[in-house]
């Protein structure tokens, strides 16, 4: 029994390399010993094959001219025509720039805030106040895009908006938040952060629950201040979660949704508000263009996947956490 456990540790920890023979033997052994784990993943794998891999043949319509009556398989091939149309669009580089800009801006502001908020929640004493703040900050997640956009427009209306009125009262000359292209991304990102920061804390709170109280006890004996303990005990505990969240976010960098942008978009801020998804939406308004939107979607996926692989590699090198 004891020998076995040593072996497990040896393989896991990458300690002394066993001989090739031993490795082969232990591989078969390991598979057999953990046979149940295959059953654990089986339902999920069946799900992914059934609902994701089986329909994946649909990707080919990006290279075809999809005709519903002919079906996906029999629609005629057009090669890279849809991609070329996208790349040659007058707005192609604007779209790329805006999409990246909004995503990275949102990440820079929106990613750290839930972490700080979660650490703060964790410090606050359990009680009504903590419960209230937690629940209140979580609530905006449920506000629909339509209401959200409506409120933004109302609050920022130059003639009647509350934000504008407060700024005027303080003596600040309010900019044209809604129509000035320079302000669009800020309005979008800050409202996004407002809506999702509280929701984003949940995952870190769960990770923080795993902190070993013994570590804190020991640190207190050593005379560490509260701030130091947060910095050196709590934060490191959630670093793997932070890393994974960051990698996943990077893998979705071109996936800026169209609904809210569309509602906040107007002809005056268009040059900084138009992103890939709104572009596809508008193209679709003229005519349902499955093939074109699939092609653009595929382009997004490829870029996203490349970014995810890159970031994952960096994470693997610099920390112990990575996706694979």
């Amino acid at each position: 029994m004891k020998a076995q456990s040593q072996q497990v540790q040896a393989l896991d920890g990458g300690l002394p390399l066993p001989t090739k023979l031993a490795e082969r033997a232990s591989l078969g052994k390991r598979i057999r010993r953990n046979w149940e784990l295959y059953l654990f993943v089986a339902p999920a794998l069946v799900y992914f094959v059934l609902f994701h891999y089986l329909p994946m043949y649909g990707v080919q319509i990006a290279f075809k001219n999809f005709m519903p009556a002919k079906g996906i398989m029999d629609s005629p091939w057009v090669g890279f025509a849809h991609f070329e149309r996208f790349f040659h669009s007058y707005y192609f580089w604007d779209l790329i720039w805006n999409t990246f800009g909004i995503s990275l801006y949102a990440l820079a502001v929106g990613f750290p805030l839930p972490i700080i908020l979660a650490l703060a929640f964790n410090e606050a004493k359990n009680g009504l106040f903590k419960k209230t703040v937690q629940t209140v900050t979580y609530a905006p997640h449920f506000i629909s895009v339509v209401v959200m956009a409506g409120m933004i427009i109302t609050f920022l209306s130059p003639s009647s908006g509350i934000v504008i009125k407060i700024m005027a009262w303080v003596g600040i000359d309010a900019p044209q938040f809604l129509t000035d292209p320079r302000w669009f991304k800020t309005v979008y990102v800050l409202s996004e952060v407002w809506q999702s920061a509280g929701w984003g804390t949940i995952i870190y709170l769960a990770a923080l629950a795993g902190v070993d109280p013994q570590l804190h006890e020991a640190a207190i004996v050593d005379g560490a201040s509260r701030f130091k303990r947060v910095l050196h005990i709590n934060l490191p505990t959630i670093v793997p979660t932070i890393t994974i969240m960051l990698i996943l976010n990077m893998g979705n960098i071109l996936g800026v949704g169209f609904e809210k942008i569309l509602l906040l978009q107007n002809s005056l801020n268009m040059e900084s508000s138009d992103v890939i998804s709104t572009f596809v939406y508008r193209t679709g308004l003229v005519d349902a263009q499955y093939s074109f939107s699939t092609a653009v979607g595929l382009f997004n996926s490829v870029i996203n996947a490349i970014l995810l692989i890159l970031v994952n590699r960096i994470a693997k090198r610099t920390s112990e956490t990575s996706l694979w």
């Binding site: 059934l50 089986l54 329909p55 649909g58 703060a120 629940t135 209306s157 407002w194 990770a207 996203n304």
Partner: protein
């Protein structure tokens, strides 16, 4: 430096730190609370005053028409019921599929886990689109059944990865090894040791998935034909349809019939928008405080010792 001295010193620093924490939380509270109160007030205020920007915090020109209209709708209660059923069963399925898989993938001694992870990650980027997925659902004879709403979303890659990370980082490896040495099978290990240690992540997963089901709209639009089976979000969207129409048809002269229809709704439409938000989200917001107790530090380790 004696111990008592340093304790006092650090406690002064700690008090300052805690003050900072509370000030930060208070600011967060105020910033977030204002728009929420605004929504509550707007849902019972005269739409004219709301749109003119005259109602800015407390309700003005109080009217309950928005709520009356929502609850007058005969489908709203069946919608609530359907949503609760879909959410409970759907979330149960999600947990049953996600947690074991996430645990297996968290085990470094699980041969083939990198392959599985990559197989799963690929689906995050490449999907066949609406039509092929619809055909799969159709071929499984799920159209117009509850299965169409919960099976195609049985696992979310994102959640699976998050759960795996949790297992990887918080379940002590020594614990698993010890259990295995004791001759504990993987199933027993998972059910008796790992799960009881994982209440926080179970709560998170239940919340993420549950909220997903609660807010879900597209699958019911695509796969359901019978409006008796519509979930709440679908019913609410139907109530809001005319409101949406006004936005899309601005300026376009369609017909007198449509214009009059929209006008008779216009007054209440903007009220409804807010009332609908309140009606659809209050129940799910109310759930959260009950889950919060699983996010308290030490809750897990305590359970191990106990």
């Amino acid at each position: 430096m004696n111990v008592a001295d340093s304790a006092i010193k650090s406690s002064r620093g700690d008090r300052l730190f805690m003050l900072g924490v509370y000030v930060f939380l208070c600011i967060a509270l105020i910033v977030v609370l204002y728009p929420l109160l605004y929504i509550l007030s707007a849902s019972i205020s005269s739409p004219k005053l709301v749109n003119a920007g005259e109602m800015w915090l407390l309700p003005k020109g109080i009217t309950w028409d928005g709520y009356t209209l929502v609850f007058q709708n005969s489908k709203i209660w069946s919608g609530y019921l359907n949503t609760i059923i879909y959410t409970v069963l759907g979330t149960a399925l999600n947990l049953a599929v996600t947690l074991p898989a996430a645990y297996a993938l968290s085990r470094s001694d699980f041969v083939g886990r990198t392959l599985f992870v990559i197989i799963i990650l690929v689906t995050m980027f490449f999907n066949g689109g609406l039509v092929p997925t619809y055909l799969v659902v159709k071929d499984l004879h799920l159209i117009n059944t509850m299965g169409a709403l919960i099976l195609p979303v049985a696992v979310s890659v994102w959640n699976l990865i998050v759960a795996r990370t949790f297992f990887q980082t918080t379940i002590p490896r020594e614990l698993q090894e010890a259990a295995q040495i004791d001759g504990c099978t993987n199933l027993k290990l998972f059910v008796r040791v790992v799960l009881p240690l994982s209440f926080p992540i179970i709560a998170v997963m239940a919340l993420f998935y549950g909220v997903g089901h609660w807010n879900s709209y597209l699958p019911s639009l695509l796969y359901l034909n019978d409006d008796a089976k519509y979930p709440l979000q679908m019913v609410l969207r139907q109530i809001l349809v005319l409101q949406e129409m006004t936005a899309e048809t601005t300026g376009a002269a369609i017909s007198g019939d449509i214009a009059k229809a929209m006008n008779s709704k216009a007054e209440t439409a903007s009220l409804l928008k807010y009332a609908v938000i309140v009606v659809s989200t209050l129940p799910i917001i109310a759930v959260y405080p009950f889950l919060q107790r699983y996010f308290v530090q030490g809750v897990m380790i305590g359970s191990v010792k106990g």
